[in-house]
């Protein structure tokens, strides 16, 4: 390790050691992990005791249909109630109103309100398979031997497919994670730098360190801590999800969490130096909150608007633009991806844009930091440190 790296590492190590042993860090970590575990496992556990899924059937033999529905429910671990429907039209109306979850139409198809974008899975897939197998066994002599290959009835949605709610909720989890990580740890950076400046430690430090070493050491030390906490949250998310059989961790949802992970890291990298620069402008640590507000503003906007996207079918153009705009991308892009509003290549483009602007932000912020960290007296105006 050369001296420059060693100096930076010493600063980072101090941040890690001092912060990791605080009670606040231990408590916040435990609370966050419990919240994640409960958030994932609770809906899955509760659904086991939920009221039965009402599955309609039209045409065909009533006893066979009831048998298929019961068997599919047993296999999928879901309580079911078979409800006879007078006609396909009546069944469709019941689907649309939410009275029924699915309808078995004779031995031809399974109807649902909306086929999930990620494809049919869970109880619905089981129903389609059991019905398909039953049809095969009843209509083709000797077909029982072919049962092992599996055959399913087509599943038709009344409305165009979209991302299932579970994916959207995973998206929401991801966005909350990005928001907490960037704003909490960003504030810690700004407060830490405000402390070093306000109590004049910076002067002692900078008699043996370069400003860039102090800056990089500080943001990477706090960043490692944030990354550790985020990783622990993702691990708990996955473990709790699988252990409770939650639908949140199946298939596409893992992709959403990974996307969120990439944007947590890129978002932190983009914002950490900006928070540092904001912290270096104050003369007292207590003034930090007012200087970091402008830094947080894009994140706050993207975060608030994300709730409108999570629960809507199509994100508006404004939010799509926010997905590519580097200051809002860390939150907006994972949301758009989770809601199925953008393809993967657009996510990659947004990530690349964010990475490039991180370099630009680091340069500007390091300049501001270097010029203001040793300025005493009143709060430094941004214009002053930018103009020199």
């Amino acid at each position: 390790m050369n001296r420059q790296t060693r100096m930076t590492w010493l600063v980072a190590r101090r941040e890690l050691r001092q912060r990791a042993k605080t009670r606040a860090f231990a408590i916040s970590t435990v609370v966050l992990l419990i919240a994640v575990a409960l958030g994932v496992a609770l809906p899955a556990i509760l659904s086991r005791n939920a009221k039965p899924e009402r599955v309609g059937f039209v045409g065909g033999d009533a006893a066979t249909a009831t048998g298929i529905i019961a068997e599919a429910g047993r296999l999928a671990g879901v309580k079911t109630a078979a409800v006879s429907q007078p006609s396909v039209a009546a069944a469709e109306a019941a689907l649309r109103s939410g009275d029924l979850s699915a309808v078995l139409v004779g031995d031809t198809e399974v109807l649902v309100k909306q086929v999930p974008l990620g494809g049919v899975s869970g109880g619905l897939a089981t129903l389609a398979q059991v019905a398909g197998l039953t049809k095969l066994v009843q209509t083709v002599p000797g077909a029982a031997a072919a049962v092992a290959h599996g055959i399913a009835l087509p599943v038709r949605g009344l409305e165009p497919p979209s991302k299932p709610l579970s994916s959207r909720l995973t998206g929401l989890f991801t966005v909350v994670l990005v928001w907490i990580m960037i704003s909490v740890y960003g504030s810690q950076i700004a407060l830490g730098i405000g402390e070093e400046k306000g109590s004049r430690i910076a002067e002692v430090l900078l008699s043996s360190l370069r400003p860039i070493q102090l800056l990089v050491g500080k943001v990477s030390g706090i960043g490692l801590l944030a990354l550790g906490q985020a990783a622990a949250m993702v691990v708990v998310f996955v473990i709790a999800g699988f252990a409770s059989g939650s639908t949140l961790v199946h298939g596409a949802a893992i992709g959403i969490v990974l996307t969120g992970g990439v944007f947590v890291v890129l978002g932190y990298a983009f914002y950490c130096t900006a928070f540092a620069a904001a912290g270096s402008l104050v003369s007292r640590q207590s003034d930090v909150n007012s200087t970091i507000l402008p830094v947080q503003l894009p994140l706050i906007i993207a975060y608030i608007l994300s709730y409108t996207v999570i629960y809507a079918d199509n994100a508006n153009v404004f939010y799509r633009v926010l997905g590519f705009f580097p200051p809002t991308a860390p939150i907006a892009m994972p949301v758009l991806y989770a809601a199925g509003d953008v393809p993967l290549w657009q996510v990659v483009v947004a990530a690349a844009l964010l990475a490039v602007s991180t370099v630009w932000m680091a340069r500007v912020a390091a300049g501001i930091y270097g010029r203001s960290i040793l300025r005493t007296g009143a709060r430094v105006k941004l214009r002053e440190v930018l103009s020199r």
Binding site: R3, M7, L10, R14, R17, Q18, E195, E196, S199, R200, I201, A202, E203, V204, L205, L206, S207, S208, L209, R210, L374, T376
Partner: protein, 328 residues
């Protein structure tokens, strides 16, 4: 005795301050400041508040940029490599309030290239030496003011620096603290360290340092061994004649003997002697005027030296600086 030692030892110049200039907007902080600091002695860097002492010290550590001039250490411009062997105690004390004393001292030791083990040993040494034993695990903000000052000194000393720079180290210390600080500085100087400290309290520190540089308005106004400066070019005689509260007898003093510098309340007359003056003639004149109650050679205080060379007292200079600051 001090003076003799100063010349016999012929200390070598280690730190050279050469033609420093620095301007902050309309304010000229340093105006071609130059002086040399020799090794192995406690060197005072004196002047009223606002004279440019802190700017100079910050410039030594590169935390303030210079418009012109150069600072050299052992003949070479000061660089990052040289600064690793410097210790600094800034005027505005700076330590992490929530960090434990021992962790803090060790951290600063590692920033000066010590490995973890050496840092631990050095921290233990200085904690004991500065009377902080038993407080190792206390957070800085739980320490008394005096102990915080000691902690700050420990941070400056922990890596055994070759140059020790302290900005107003005596400010805010109680008499016990002043004695401790003075002892540590003398000890370091005796160990061959170059010790430079600043103070605006000229008279308080005149017994602490062997040589000084006195500055005003960013310029050097006087420098040299303290004894030499206090004696000045012309010896000073203090004479008091009983019953003459105004020192009226001294009006008859001829210009060939000397001139009256001042008359203290109570009538002690301070006479600046010419080089050829015969002090016994002055004694005769005084005795002719009445009973001589006091007759002695008296050194000037450093504050008087300041007034002599600048025409203003330290207090006036500081008031002028404060007024200029308020007017901006």
């Amino acid at each position: 005795m001090h003076r003799l030692r100063y010349y016999l030892a012929m200390p070598s110049v280690e730190l050279e301050i050469d033609g420093l200039r620095r301007r902050y907007g309309p304010v000229i902080a340093l105006d071609g400041l130059s002086f040399d600091v020799p090794s192995g002695q406690v060197f005072g860097f004196l002047g009223p508040n606002g004279a440019g002492k802190t700017t100079t010290m910050r410039a030594i550590f590169g935390v303030v940029g210079l418009d012109a001039g150069e600072i050299r250490w052992r003949g070479k411009p000061v660089d990052e490599q040289a600064r690793r062997h410097f210790g600094y105690m800034p005027e505005e004390r700076g330590l992490y309030p929530g960090m434990k004393l021992r962790d803090q001292i060790e951290y600063f030791a590692t920033l000066h290239d010590m490995d973890d083990q050496a840092a631990e040993q050095a921290a233990t040494h200085w904690i004991r030496r500065l009377g902080l034993a038993g407080r190792e695990d206390a957070k800085i903000d739980a320490l008394s003011h005096g102990n915080q000052q000691r902690a700050q000194l420990a941070v400056a000393l922990v890596h055994d620096p070759e140059l020790l720079v302290l900005d107003e180290p005596f400010a805010g210390l109680d008499p016990g603290g002043v004695d401790d600080m003075r002892q540590v500085l003398a000890e370091r100087a005796a160990a061959g360290v170059t010790v430079l400290f600043s103070s605006h309290q000229l008279d308080l520190v005149e017994d602490i340092c062997e040589a000084v540089a006195i500055i005003h308005h960013g310029r050097l106004v006087a420098s040299g061994p303290v004894e030499e400066l206090r004696r000045g070019d012309r010896p000073r005689l203090a004479v008091q004649v009983g019953g003459d509260a105004d020192g009226a007898w001294a009006r008859s003093l001829g210009a060939d003997l000397g001139e009256v510098e001042a008359v203290r309340p109570g009538g002690t007359v301070l006479i600046s002697l010419t080089n050829s003056a015969d002090s016994q003639r002055i004694l005769d004149l005084a005795r002719a005027a009445g009973p001589v109650e006091h007759f002695s050679f008296e050194d000037r205080r450093l504050s008087e030296v300041f007034r002599e060379v600048t025409g203003a007292s330290v207090g006036q200079a500081e008031a002028e600086h404060a007024a200029a600051g308020a007017g901006r």
